[in-house]
């Protein structure tokens, strides 16, 4: 759905990026100054491409050879890293700005739900100057959405929001992705968000693509152990209403999700942080941890720090990363081939399946 190839110098900074994204969320991930915002600006057409190619939905937006569809004809929504609200317009007029230029038939996204979810209904008559940082960011997000773009570029849209507010807004972005089928390029430093939203992660480093792949693949080898995650696929079982839990049936055992998730039988992906997994050599009992998955140790990397990330092949073939201390590895004699039970604190899973 989107093809990006950029070879260009910005001052002293050389950007050489080549990736494509499908219909879902493509995450741009990488350290500060790695070129994420620059890529966004090229896709939006705000920086002129001199060498490379930007294609959205089979339409060539720029080919570095003179073809340069101006930004206002691209129908690409941008949530900028800074809010960039129009200071002379009320919040309401800011929000409705894009709508003016959206053909009537393409105004897919209704105002009410967006404003409600963003919690900015009480700000409509205010001017941007007096808004708080997070309020500005939410209005800016709303403004981009309400233009009903055919591609959405979001540059750290939730950076200055508190955790509860983020959790409220994430479903909105998921709805854009799923219900409205708007492809999204999403810049974020929050692994949680990226993993939850993205089907593809492009990791930038110093202007180059360092890794590309699914969140699982990319974060499995992430440099920082807090970023390592696994994804387990399964099928929703009948919810346990009194206890507000829903089982996800997987070949390796049942993963318990918090909340009542339906419909029965739906295929879901469940996300597990490597740091939320403990391993036991026999099936434990009398423990509050309810999700216990059976498998065998596939790989125990050498290491010199206190922790290592062990690769466990679960029954059924999917892989699970578990971050454990080397001391425990030695004590329990964990080595490839050894049968283990992975204990996953169900409460540490995300509220909604991916």
């Amino acid at each position: 759905m989107i093809d990006v190839e950029i070879h260009q110098r910005l001052g002293d900074f050389q950007l050489d990026v080549d990736f494509s994204g499908d219909g879902g969320v493509t995450a741009l991930f990488g350290p500060s100054g790695s070129g994420k915002s620059s890529v966004i600006k090229f896709i939006a057409g705000l920086t002129r491409l001199r060498s490379g190619r930007i294609v959205v939905d089979d339409a060539v937006m720029a080919d570095g050879q003179g073809r340069h569809v101006p930004p206002y004809r691209r129908r690409i929504g941008v949530v900028f890293q800074e809010a960039r609200l129009f200071p002379h317009m009320s919040v309401g007029r800011n929000l409705r700005y894009g709508r003016l230029f959206t053909p009537r038939g393409q105004r897919h996204i209704a105002e009410g739900p967006v404003i409600d979810t963003l919690g900015i209904g009480h700000l409509l008559d205010r001017h941007p100057a007096t808004l708080s940082g997070g309020e500005q960011q939410r209005v800016s997000l709303g403004r981009a959405l309400l233009a009903s773009p055919r591609l959405l570029l979001m540059d750290e849209p939730l950076a200055s929001l508190d955790a509860p507010r983020r959790l409220e807004i994430l479903p909105l972005i998921e709805a854009l992705r799923d219900e409205f089928a708007i492809p999204i390029v999403y810049v974020s430093h929050a692994v949680e968000e990226v993993v939850r939203l993205a089907s593809k992660v492009v990791v930038l480093e110093a202007g180059k693509v360092a890794r590309v792949g699914s969140p699982t693949d990319v974060f499995r080898v992430a440099a920082d152990r807090f970023e390592i995650m696994s994804v387990i696929e399964g099928r929703l079982g009948p919810p346990n209403a009194p206890f507000h839990l829903t089982p996800v049936e997987t070949p390796a055992g049942i993963v318990w999700l918090n909340g009542l998730v339906r419909p029965l039988g739906r295929e879901v992906r469940v996300l597990v942080h490597a740091t939320d997994v403990a391993l036991a050599t026999h099936r434990p009992d009398g423990v509050t941890i309810r999700t216990v998955l059976a498998g065998t140790v596939a790989e125990v990397p050498e290491g010199s720090g206190s922790s290592v990330t062990i690769d466990v092949e679960l029954d059924g073939g999917s892989h699970l990363a578990a971050s454990v201390t080397r001391a425990a590895v030695a004590e329990l004699d964990l080595k490839p081939g050894r049968q283990v039970f992975a204990l996953v604190k169900s409460v540490a899973l995300d509220e909604r399946p991916l």
Binding site: R84, F86, H88, L100, A147
Partner: protein
């Protein structure tokens, strides 16, 4: 003000009309010119810029004389306008408007241009990304954000139009009731010693009108600043 002659009152009214119309015409024209100069890139831009500033550099009489040569009924452009559209500027109050506009153009254009160049281009980018074409962006973002400059331009233009004398008297003369503005009336009065009192009185009146316009513009500016915060 009982000692003011009826002619003087007519001059005041005329000046007011000329200044108001000059401002109303001058500001839009200047806005377009300022936009072209601020954003445009074309060969001869410097020359074009220079041309706009010319009335500032030359003595007003010369500008007035140039206007007479160009826009007079027998002038290059004037003859054309007269024949094809029946528009005559020479020796009409509309000519005084033209003189005032030309003389105040460099000042107004500069003020507006300064404001346009101060507009954060990132906001214009944001507008573009929201689907607004160059025109829409100009009218919805650039122009409103340049309002301080436009207001200053309008104020300066109005004041200048009130005070303009050299180019006006040279271009459209000093015909009572038709082209005798306050400035020309002051000149006329000052030609005889008995006129000194009237000249002074007229000067004070001109100053008062100018001050009123100024205060009005300050109030609008403050109101505008408050509205956007």
């Amino acid at each position: 003000m009982p000692d003011l002659s009826p002619d003087a009152w007519i001059a005041i009214a005329l000046s007011f009309k000329v200044a108001a119309v000059a401002t109303l015409c001058g500001v839009p024209v200047s806005t377009v010119l300022a936009l072209i100069l601020a954003r445009g890139r074309f060969p001869g831009k410097a020359l074009f810029d220079g041309l706009i500033h010319l009335p500032l550099v030359l003595p007003p009489v010369v500008t007035g004389y140039a206007l007479l040569l160009l826009l007079g009924r027998k002038g290059l452009i004037g003859a054309f306008l007269d024949q094809h559209f029946g528009i005559v500027f020479a020796f009409r109050w509309t000519g005084a408007v033209v003189a005032a506009v030309v003389m105040s153009l460099p000042i107004i254009v500069r003020a507006i241009r300064l404001s346009i160049e101060a507009v954060d281009t990132r906001l214009e980018q944001a507008s573009g990304a929201l689907g607004a074409g160059p025109f829409a962006t100009f009218f919805l973002v650039t122009l409103p954000l340049s309002l301080p400059g436009i207001l200053v331009g309008a104020t300066l233009g109005f004041a200048k139009a009130l005070g303009e004398f050299g180019a006006t008297i040279t271009f459209v003369s000093n015909i009572p009731g038709e082209t005798r503005t306050i400035a020309s009336a002051i000149y006329t009065a000052s030609q005889s010693p008995e006129g000194d009192g009237e000249a002074l009185l007229l000067s004070v009146i001109a100053a008062c009108i100018g001050l009123t316009a100024l205060v009005a513009s300050e109030i609008i500016a403050r109101w505008f600043r408050r509205a956007s915060s």
